[in-house]
Symmetry: C2
Subunit: 394 residues, 2 copies
């Protein structure tokens, strides 16, 4: 119970914490096979290399790294990040267009803070990433899900929603979406950028999985088609190097970056410099691509193993076939309730995330999300075997 | 100019960024003597030791440190922080009362987010720390300054303000306050805790300077007198080890911590684990106290040098005589305008922060804040000589 006279802010009414974070706690149980998180494989975390890099940067530039830094970012990181973006991405990025973040979720939070009022509408894919759904809700945005199909957000549905709801922003994950694994088709990306300029809303393009592509061709970013400055691109090193370091970034119109910088002053002042300096070394020493290549093979194998298992699931089970990322999304035949089965699954030693949590309006209890990156092939086979049994029609 | 249809959120109207952060940029100018920041001395930043610790923790526990962590904190750090608090502080702290933060300013932001609505009143000292003034303002709190004297916040003025404004919170820095360097008297601390319980408002006790005491006796914390759960204690390792690492923490009533944890999920998910792990090593290996002792002597010498210089300033110059911390606050004879003189001071090679920025209602243009930690004795003598000249009555 709260101390007398103290009460929750209005923005916290109905906010009970991320379901997925609570699920994470269940997973501490030893021996459990977890398809629940979005964690990279432990094998993919380069801790020995990071030890060397951390020591190096602290010896060579430690006085600057341990001192207060600018909210705008650690200067060497800003430099190497800009070079990396210009080399590997399909949109222009000057230094004044870039803001390093303490994880890319911070970008969504700062955009809400600086540009959205309580009650403003934000459109999302349906389903969408539950973490940022919470971020948007704490900022009192009204979420309106837009129908999506195998090629991502439907443009006809988007246009209808834009006209009806006059949104201030669209939040979307164009590559290997969380939770579905779907990739947005290129022509739809172009249409989204055009519509944002025409109707005047921000596009929060959340793109943490882009480089985890196991097959198919890379697609142009939404930002690539942005002629009017409405698209805010958010990237992250969480899936490529380390989520525990919390290093992401935002690329946007200069005036958007400036206001988000002011917002960031009032939260964490700046992203820790040591973690920025370590990622800087990954970029500067060209360590990112070799590291990435070392993880793509194993992840591809795990995805295929999981899809192979799903092919033997009860008739009527539907599931996505992602070309990359970390997730497969499944729909069981109507009548099988993945939300209710969750406890029993954990009892039997396997965890997933019930799909309902990813739908802004709930429902869809026959769906669930599977992560394949953080399990061994053996765990994928055994865990999926247990789920196949569990989901047999009675 | 912003893209069409995009506009600033209401909470950003009138927010133009921290004046002090803009001042920092001026200071990049080579050769300038800066009394402006709140930076630790570069000598006080243990970069070689941190290099060793960073490498150690990444080799020994790197898979956990690079992986996603719990919002509640890196478990070893939570453990050593709790032990440190119970050993060195005068209030009880169980694990569920502690939340690691990405710098202690994040604590103020999270408290606003979870417990304060736009338009709610927050009382502050007068003057007060401008960084958190901005944090409170972006959260649309109404700031009401409460008269302070050499012993800190005046209790009679506080009681009047509490009755008149029915505040939801009081923000205060009890030890070596920023910007004044003043320390709140023990009996006033007790009165504040009592009043918070009686009238039902939160006390945000911001205490980053506590251990930088050069003389006099330590005072009990406000939290020590907290019988009702209204006092939220915020500590930081920024002034003790490194501000660039951004590691702080909050100690509060369990239900307050729980809601702030949910708020933190939606911003940076968790504080980077590597920086938590490095501070953990400082605590666990008992490195904090020896390091602290190595910096106290030089800081004491610098404070005395600055006070010695101030004694020779034009008649009518008033200034605080802090027992610790990083700042001295000065008031020039009426008619000398420290705000207007700032540009000329920078021209002559010295920077400070005009005092007006620290007053929620502005004014007080004859005042300014001096930092002594980040200059050498030589710079203090030469820089103060320049200011003495500049502030001579014409």
């Amino acid at each position: 119970m709260l101390p007398n006279g103290v009460s929750y802010a209005d923005r916290f009414s109905g906010i009970s914490g991320s379901a997925i974070r609570e699920i994470f706690k269940v997973l501490a149980r030893p021996g459990i096979v977890s398809f629940a998180g979005g964690n990279p494989s432990d094998d993919a975390l380069p801790n020995e290399l990071c030890a060397e890099l951390a020591s190096d940067v602290l010896l060579k530039d430690g006085k600057r790294i341990l001192q207060y830094g600018a909210t705008e970012g650690y200067p060497p990181f800003l430099e190497s990040l800009q070079a990396y973006l210009n080399e590997s991405y399909d949109f222009p990025a000057e230094k004044q267009n870039i803001l390093p973040l303490t994880g890319s979720t911070q970008g969504v939070d700062l955009l809400c803070k600086a540009f959205l009022n309580p009650g403003d509408t934000v459109l999302t894919e349906d389903p969408t990433f539950l973490g940022n759904m919470q971020t948007l809700r704490v900022n009192q945005q009204k979420l309106v899900p837009v129908e999506s199909d195998d090629d991502g957000l439907r443009i006809d549905a988007l246009e209808t929603a834009v006209k009806r709801h006059r949104p201030k922003a669209l939040y979307c994950i164009p590559n290997f979406q969380n939770p579905t694994g779907r990739t947005l088709k290129a022509d739809r990306r172009k249409a989204i950028a055009g519509m944002a300029g025409e109707y005047g809303f921000l596009v929060m393009e959340d793109d943490p999985y882009r480089d985890l592509r196991y097959e198919g061709q890379p697609q142009p970013s939404v930002k690539h088609f942005d002629e009017s400055g409405h698209v805010v691109y958010m990237g992250s090193f969480s899936k490529l190097v380390s989520p525990g370091m919390r290093v992401g970034y935002m690329v946007a119109h200069e005036d958007i970056i400036r206001k988000c910088t002011i917002g960031k002053q009032g939260t964490d002042l700046h992203t820790p410099l040591l973690t920025q300096a370590i990622i800087d070394q990954f970029l500067r020493r060209k360590l990112l691509m070799p590291h990435l290549h070392s993880i793509l093979g194993p992840y591809r194998g795990k995805l295929h193993a999981m899809l192979g298992e799903l092919a033997t699931f009860p008739e009527g089970t539907d599931y996505t076939k992602p070309e990359g990322g970390l997730f497969v999304f499944c729909a069981l035949p109507e009548g099988i309730n993945a939300t209710k089965c969750f406890e029993e699954a954990v009892e039997r030693g396997v965890a997933y995330v019930p799909g309902t949590y990813f739908y802004p309006e709930g429902g869809h209890h026959n769906t669930f999300r599977l992560n394949f990156s953080n399990s061994s092939l053996e765990q994928i086979h055994s865990g999926m075997g247990i789920l196949r049994e569990l989901f047999q029609p009675k």
